[in-house]
């Protein structure tokens, strides 16, 4: 808008897209190299599919009786996920606010916050769990702590991105009104990201219920231990029971999440 004169001439012609094409080629090359490195082949997958079918057949019908056994650990998993998600989400709020360039102007807060945010989410949850198990011993506490950090990583990144994307208008209005920083955030930012924050948190909760399955592998409690066990026993009918139970929990969370999102959006 500022200087239409200089741009107009260039805009008349189709713009030069070389750089974009180079980017596309770069991506295609990456994919191709990855396929080569991992020995990917479609034929292998197609010829091998019947073998997958055999295992899937072993999964039905599920061993309904096993429900009695896995019910309790599943609840423990949910409990772990509730606590892990809550604390993760609480920790994520300040960091996401500090890391968002449109909220935090001070570099001394901005960059350290971004650093923490980036660091935490690079670490595999399994590693968190293993270290916490080593420190806190076996059991759900280690699992919860792993989930706290894991949720923190997930939520803070997503929240930070949605904060950066909010409509600056209301924030501007709050500045003009003479609001303090906290008021500014409460009235200008919070209403705009609350729905997303809730959605991300519930989403993370759901991820955590499933992640707990992996954490069990290193002894961090929950349903994971049982999944590992039945797989080692080749009891796929029991594995499918566990999967079904997880599915039920996930669906409940999904339902709640949809309802809440509808309310808030």
């Amino acid at each position: 808008m500022s200087n239409p004169g200089t741009k107009a001439a260039a805009a008349m012609k189709k713009p030069d897209r070389t750089k974009t094409y180079i980017t596309y080629i770069f991506i295609i090359l990456l994919v191709w190299a990855s396929a080569a490195k991992t020995d990917a082949s479609l034929i292998k997958l197609i010829t091998g599919t019947p073998e997958m079918g055999k295992l899937l057949v072993e999964m039905v019908p599920p061993d309904w009786g096993y429900l009695d056994v896995v019910w309790k650990p599943m609840m423990e998993t949910v409990q772990m996920a509730v606590i892990g998600t809550t604390f993760g989400a609480l920790l994520a709020i300040p960091i996401a606010l500090f890391a968002a360039g449109n909220v935090t102007k001070s570099r001394f807060l901005l960059y350290p916050a971004r650093f923490i945010l980036n660091l935490v989410r690079t670490i595999p949850d399994l590693l968190f769990a293993a270290v916490f198990v080593a420190i806190f011993g076996i059991g759900p506490v280690a699992g919860v702590l792993a989930l706290v950090f894991f949720s923190f990583g997930l939520i803070s990144k997503l929240l930070y991105e949605s904060i950066e994307a909010v409509d600056p208008g209301p924030m501007e209005a709050m500045t003009a009104v003479g609001a303090s920083k906290l008021q500014w955030i409460h009235f200008g930012v919070v209403p705009q990201v609350l729905a997303q924050f809730t959605a991300y948190t519930l989403y993370t909760f759901e991820v955590n219920v499933r992640a707990a399955a992996v954490l069990g592998l290193v002894g961090a409690g929950g349903i994971g231990l049982y999944l590992d066990r039945v797989l080692n026993q080749l009891r796929y009918d029991r594995a499918s029971m566990i999967i079904l139970l997880t599915l039920v929990v996930v669906l409940i969370i999904d339902y709640a999440s949809t309802k809440i999102r509808e309310k808030l959006l």
Binding site: L45, I83, T122, L127, A199
Partner: protein, 275 residues
């Protein structure tokens, strides 16, 4: 954020309190289920060992020259470098596969794309089901199909990611500005044309952003898949953990951090190019 500072109808107030009580109960229940057991006797000793290991990474593991081949990264060394490259390859391919396959799922599950509730609901269910299927079980399935190795990891990751990406995509579609779609509808476009000309260009940046985000998660998940022989850095990581070789864990962790950081840089560059 609909709470009124003033009198809201009593019906809502009752519901508000019901929900509040329910949430409090959930927390009470959860905290009861996970009693904090306190710091362990060996915690100090073990933490010290961990810290020492993490801060004195086993540098010798970074690169083990195995043969004279200059292009060692093309072969299959068993050092950190190769482990990371395989992990990266698994994540790239897995992410690409899922990013493509999840698009139809996302539209299937987005509630503003269909007026029939059952369609949306079934789409959401399908995505939930895929998400719930543990990566581990998926990996076993694919190991049966294509044998142990990175390819099985790719497939497991690719299929599993569909669940999450599909969900995020579908929510992006649900949040979209209806203006352009409306304009296309007003032009007499059919459903697919509306999608292609109004919806896709709008959601593409978000799709892209979610995909990159998932890519990062996949890098981490690929480490887990390593446990069951699906290749990548995961296998050595798990063994280092089990052997309590903390300096080895340290160097692997460092490797993953560097990898993810590089990915971050590259992906933000690509994002700028394409968006």
């Amino acid at each position: 954020m609909r709470n009124e500072p003033l009198k809201s109808p009593p019906r809502f107030r009752i519901r508000f309190w019901l929900v509040a009580v329910f949430i409090v109960l959930v927390y009470v229940w959860s905290f009861n289920g996970v009693p904090f057991t306190g710091i362990k006797e060996t915690a100090g000793q073990v933490s010290k060992a961990i810290m020492k290991g993490l801060f004195h990474p086993d540098w010798s593991y970074v690169y083990i020259p195995e043969d004279m081949s200059f292009f060692q990264w093309l072969s299959d060394g068993e050092d950190l470098l190769n482990g990371l490259i395989v992990t990266l390859a698994i994540s790239i391919l897995g992410t690409v596969i899922s990013a493509i396959i999840c698009v139809p799922f996302a539209f299937w599950a987005a509630n503003n794309m269909s007026k029939v509730k059952a369609v949306t609901a079934s789409g959401k269910f399908a995505l939930s089901f895929i998400r719930t299927f543990p990566e581990l079980v998926m990996a076993i399935l694919f190991i049966k199909a294509v044998g142990p190795g990175p390819y099985a990891g790719v497939l497991a990751l690719g299929l599993h990611s569909i669940g999450m990406l599909g969900k995020l995509y579908s929510e992006a579609i649900e949040n979209l500005d209806q203006g352009p779609s409306e304009a296309l509808t007003a032009c007499g476009a059919n459903r697919f044309q509306v999608l292609w000309h109004a919806v896709i260009p709008q959601v593409l940046p978000e799709f892209f952003s979610f995909t990159l985000y998932r890519f990062e998660i996949n890098v981490r998940s690929a480490s887990i898949l390593g446990m069951i022989g699906a290749g990548g850095i995961g296998t050595p990581l798990v063994f280092a953990l089990e052997a309590r070789a903390w300096n080895r864990v340290g160097v692997i962790l460092l490797g993953i951090i560097v990898l993810v950081t590089i990915i971050d840089l590259i992906s933000s560059y690509i994002r700028k190019r394409l968006v």
